[in-house]
């Protein structure tokens, strides 16, 4: 959490030539989200909007994307940066197409999460944190995801993959390669 504070300088300032704007359906979702709070408390929409923005704009939050969210909520960009950098689900750098979030905490560790990570690294040919050479996958080790009774497990987008075995992982990765769509939570 707090370590991330010092990574603010890492926020990609890269600007893009394409205009940053939510799709029509996302715009409609924005309106629904804003409707959930009193009119003068719209900052409460920040986390839901960041999730939406991350899903809409390639799975990560660039500075221009965060500025765009700030403009929708009529708040300062720094109010968005400080929040985005606090929460572990917001990526401040580009990721592999599928972000594989492997739980490494107690029950998962007891049930072989270290082997899962090793096997994944070998299969996608990239160490934890690195994007695989084909750009498809990236492993991220995370803390307890509330799936301890079905350990070992990982999460990709909004899907939980539980009671993992190496065979299961092979099938999952093969299916995703075929699907070839970026993972998203929203």
């Amino acid at each position: 959490m707090f370590q991330d504070l010092f990574e603010l300088e890492d926020i990609e300032l890269m600007t893009t030539t394409t205009e940053i704007k939510f799709s029509d359906s996302a715009q409609q979702q924005v309106q629904e989200i804003l409707h959930q709070y009193p009119a003068d408390k719209s900052k409460s929409a920040l986390l839901p909007l960041l999730h939406l923005a991350q899903a809409e704009f390639d799975g990560w939050l660039s500075a221009p994307v965060m500025d765009y969210v700030a403009s929708i909520l009529n708040i300062q960009p720094i109010e968005v940066y400080e929040v985005a950098s606090f929460y572990s689900m917001f990526n401040l750098k580009p990721t592999g197409k599928y972000l594989i979030e492997v739980c490494q905490t107690s029950s998962c560790w007891m049930n072989g999460s270290e082997d899962i990570v090793r096997y994944l690294e070998r299969t996608i040919q990239a160490e934890t944190g690195q994007i695989s050479p084909d750009g498809m996958f990236q492993i991220k080790t995370v803390e307890c995801l509330g799936s301890c009774g079905t350990a070992p497990m990982f999460q990709i987008g909004d899907k939980y993959y539980e009671n993992l075995t190496f065979e299961k992982i092979d099938t999952i990765l093969d299916d995703l390669r075929k699907e070839n769509k970026r993972s998203r939570y929203v």
């Binding site: 900052k43 929040v83 572990s88 049930n111 090793r118 307890c144 899907k159």
Partner: protein, 447 residues
Amino acid sequence: MSKKLLLTYDHIPGINTLEVYRQNNGYKSLEKALKTMKPDDIVEEVKKSGLRGRGGAGFPTGMKWSFLAKPEGVPRHLVCNADESEPGTFKDRYLMERIPHLLIEGMIVSSFALGANTSYIYVRGEYFYIIKILQNAIKEAYAAGLLGKNILGSGYDLDLYVQPGGGAYICGEETALLESLEGKRGNPRLKPPFPAVAGLWGRPTVVNNVETIAAVVPIVNFGGDEYAKIGIGKSTGTKLISASGHINKPGVYEIELGVPVEEFIYSDEYCGGIRNGKKLKAVVAGGSSVPILPTELILTTAKGEPRLMSYESLSDGGFATGTMLGSGGFIAMDEDTSIVKNLFTFARFYHHESCGQCSPCREGTGWMEKILKKFIDGKATMSDIDLLWDVQSKIEGKTICPLGEAAAWPVAAAIRHFRHEFEEYVKNPQSIHDVKHYFRLNNLVEA
């Protein structure tokens, strides 16, 4: 009245839909509450039930509700804590996934009791698929007139929304949760003021765990007195236990409070014993924050009485020989488990999750992780055991929120009960590699 109050219908196909839920006594408590009870009557029943918060602290729910400030003209809020991030805990997820309407029914009845007209369910962001399940269920409830204006013709209005978190254990702490719900970093607030006086947007707010709110449904249905007959002593009612680790049947179990720990671990009704015929070594009984206990002390108290799954029995003996019921995250470890390595995963977790506001927690969690890493790497010395003890002892009571303590307790308990294992890691670093962490997958890993 059966022993199961929450998971009575969880295996019925389609129970996640409003139609099937209603066919199985769903929304009966709402009809009863709106048609025959005044808000204060409900608070009174909850008080009588003896229900204690199921999020970890075990604070009496009826009392918490009666503290809610009610200044004229200021809206009040009920916020459900579905952040569920304490390692070992997955019961709220189970409940919301299987029977979303039970939580929604509880939210409506509880909001009515508290006089709230807008309520929120704050769900950890990683549970996005559950957020979708809840949103669908809420849509069904609106369409059936169970939410929105003039619910069931009673004149009572309620809007209910689901808010995603962003991945942060600390947002389970109720004031951090409220900060997060206001669109900020999840930094816990100094208390007082308590949320009951100044909570969400400075308004009077009650924060309750998913299971607590769900328990209001049977309490209203059967009455507080009937509820209080279930369980043992001041541990009334039932509790959802998330069981994981080296057991034959991991999963979520609804137990009547007071079941003997031994029965919970070994009977086929619950965990079904330790996997692969191994012996039990230790248990973390209530989520990662509570003290770990060796087999002798988890099965019987220091006085030699059978230990029961209840608030009082689990804490019998204080931290010297006891533990806590906590969130009900029950992690069982077999004889081959390295207590030090397991503790390292906890220390890494707390270091990662500290919000960084208080030096003892921010620095202490980092130190504890680093020192434990030395043990794992075979580089620790005997004085590191004392150093580790010293660091953990300087956190408790010196921080804004209890996360610091939650990080210190497991370290203290591991040294207290398993000091010999730390010493073994120092004397014989090779032993680390000899420890048979039998992973289920081990035989598949190439050398």
